[in-house]
């Protein structure tokens, strides 16, 4: 059972470290990173200005509508239930996944017995469960949180298990020789050893959670950002729909980068050691 979401991510990161160009002046780096998005936005503005396609309204109109709906209007209220469901569901699912992963790591018999089921639930595309969840829990927010939690659990569980199994046995022997207490072993050996992989699992879980948040609002809900977008599409308010798409894109981007930011801070020692190590063949 090796569902390692982490390996590729780690490969990408060490590559990023190498391509980082530490010696270059900061200004040049910022300019290089910024010019293309600016050009693309300007291009979008210019090309769409004369657009009479109903699906692709001028960017100027979209921005106007964005102001009316999200800054002057109260569309932001749609975001609050979404984010609340996401936060509760993701936190519950991640916690459950990490705890269950740790438990399965300690109990090899249970692990072997449950691994087919766990793997099945991990690869089961979670949105497929949505209709069953509606049948079971009705349309309320409990169902939405439950679905998000379900989606977040399995990547967290499998990556926790994988990360903990990957810890060098010598470290445990050392901890025992130094008479570490159980709690101290967990705190100083298990958690640091498994945390890069756990973080990768949580990152994958966050992406699934965002999808599930939106899907469950699109299929059956009366509020939320997903409902807002699909409702606008249904009544053919295309410009309004575009504002929803933009807001959801920004929210998704901010959530993902916030997670990566926290991850980098918490795991700074790990990335530091990887970069130092990657110099040697």
């Amino acid at each position: 059972m090796t569902a390692t979401t982490g390996r590729a991510g780690a490969a990408g990161r060490s590559g990023a470290g190498r391509a980082g160009g530490r010696g270059r002046p900061r200004l040049r780096r910022v300019l290089l990173a910024v010019w293309l998005p600016v050009v693309l936005l300007a291009l979008w503005w210019a090309v769409s200005a004369q657009s009479d396609s109903p699906y692709f309204p001028p960017l100027a109109d979209i921005l106007d509508e964005l102001h009316d709906e999200w800054i002057a209007g109260d569309a932001t209220l749609q975001l609050l239930p979404s984010l609340r469901n996401l936060a509760v569901g993701f936190a519950a699912g991640s916690l459950l996944g990490v705890l269950a992963g740790a438990l399965l790591w300690r109990l090899p018999v249970v692990r072997r017995a449950t691994s087919p089921i766990v793997y099945f639930l991990y690869v089961l595309p979670a949105p497929a469960l949505l209709p069953a969840m509606i049948a079971l829990f009705g349309l309320g927010e409990v169902r939405q949180m439950a679905l998000i939690a379900f989606g977040a659990t399995w990547p967290a569980l499998l990556n926790t298990l994988d990360g903990m199994r990957g810890i060098d046995q010598v470290k445990f022997d050392t901890a025992r020789a130094m008479r570490f207490s159980g709690l101290r072993t967990v705190w100083q050996v298990v958690l640091p050893g498994a945390s890069p992989q756990i973080a990768a699992g949580l990152r994958a879980g966050l992406q699934v959670s965002i999808i599930l948040m939106v899907v469950s609002e699109m299929v059956a809900a009366r509020e939320g950002i997903g409902y807002f977008i699909l409702e606008a599409q249904t009544v053919f308010a295309i410009t309004t729909m575009w504002t929803g798409i933009l807001v959801l894109s920004v929210v998704g981007t901010v959530l993902n980068s916030a997670f990566v930011g926290v991850e980098r801070r918490v795991l700074r020692w790990y990335h530091g050691s990887r970069q130092a190590g990657s110099g040697a063949p």
Binding site: T2, T5, R7, A8, A11, G12, G15, A16, R18, A19, G21, R29, L32, A33, V34, W35, L36, P37, L40, Y55, Y119, F120, L121, V123, L124, P125, A126, P127, A128, L129, L130, P131, A132, I134, A135, Q207, V208, I210, I211, V214, V215, M218, V219, G226, I229, L230, A232, Q233, I238, M241, W242, I245, L248, S249, G252, T253, N256, S257
Partner: protein, 210 residues
């Protein structure tokens, strides 16, 4: 009950389109340092955008069709893949690059004999990871967008009322097995197909022992 079959075609075509585009765009960008760094930010932003955000727009433009499903899946898979390809191509061994230059290997031939083999394990890993989220997006396209496939079949069964619930659960089970088969396929592809690559040679035994 209606809605019928499994129809993994959208999922498969979407992944094919995404990987072909990602390999072409990724290697082109990786060949030039300025281009690579300029595009990196844009790609990171698009990668972070949840693909499902554009679903209602895609439904409007393409309708409840196979094309809609393919587009959504390809959009979701392309961004992480192109990042993988970019780093994969840039991970090339300097000796290999120099050798290719000395031997005068250029253009298409260089792409086929040097660039592709270098990047392939990265693409394989990227594909294995993207395949899972692609399956999720395909199901979403069926569930919300009404494209034909297992997601729509599940929804139809639920809407048909309590008597059809066994059918609904049966389809959910099938979706799970589909997930096992499809992700298992990529897992095997990665292990069997990449055993020759430098980065895998020493790891082969370890992977087998697990």
């Amino acid at each position: 009950m209606g809605g019928g079959g499994l129809d993994p075609a959208g999922w498969f075509l979407g992944l094919v389109v995404a990987s072909v585009l990602a390999v072409v765009v990724g290697s082109a960008l990786a060949a030039n340092d300025v281009a690579f760094r300029s595009a990196a930010g844009v790609i990171e932003v698009f990668k972070a955008i949840p693909a499902i955000a554009i679903l209602p727009l895609v439904i409007l433009v393409l309708g409840s069709t196979l094309e809609m499903k393919v587009f959504l899946v390809a959009f979701g898979a392309f961004w992480p893949l192109v990042v993988q390809v970019g780093y994969g191509v840039r991970s090339i061994d300097p000796t290999v690059a120099d050798t290719a230059r000395v031997l005068g290997v250029r253009g298409v031939r260089r792409f086929l004999t040097v660039t592709l083999p270098t990047a392939s394990p990265y693409v394989a890993t990227g594909l294995r990871i993207a395949s899972a989220s692609a399956l999720i997006l395909a199901v979403v396209a069926e569930l919300v967008g009404g494209a034909e496939g297992i997601g729509r079949a599940i929804l139809f069964a639920r809407n048909a009322g309590v008597s059809a619930y066994p059918v609904m659960y049966a389809y959910i089970l099938v979706a799970g097995f589909l997930g096992i088969v499809l992700t298992g396929l990529f897992f095997l592809l990665e292990r069997q197909g990449m055993h020759w690559h430098e980065s895998r040679r020493n790891r082969a035994g370890e992977a087998g022992a697990r």
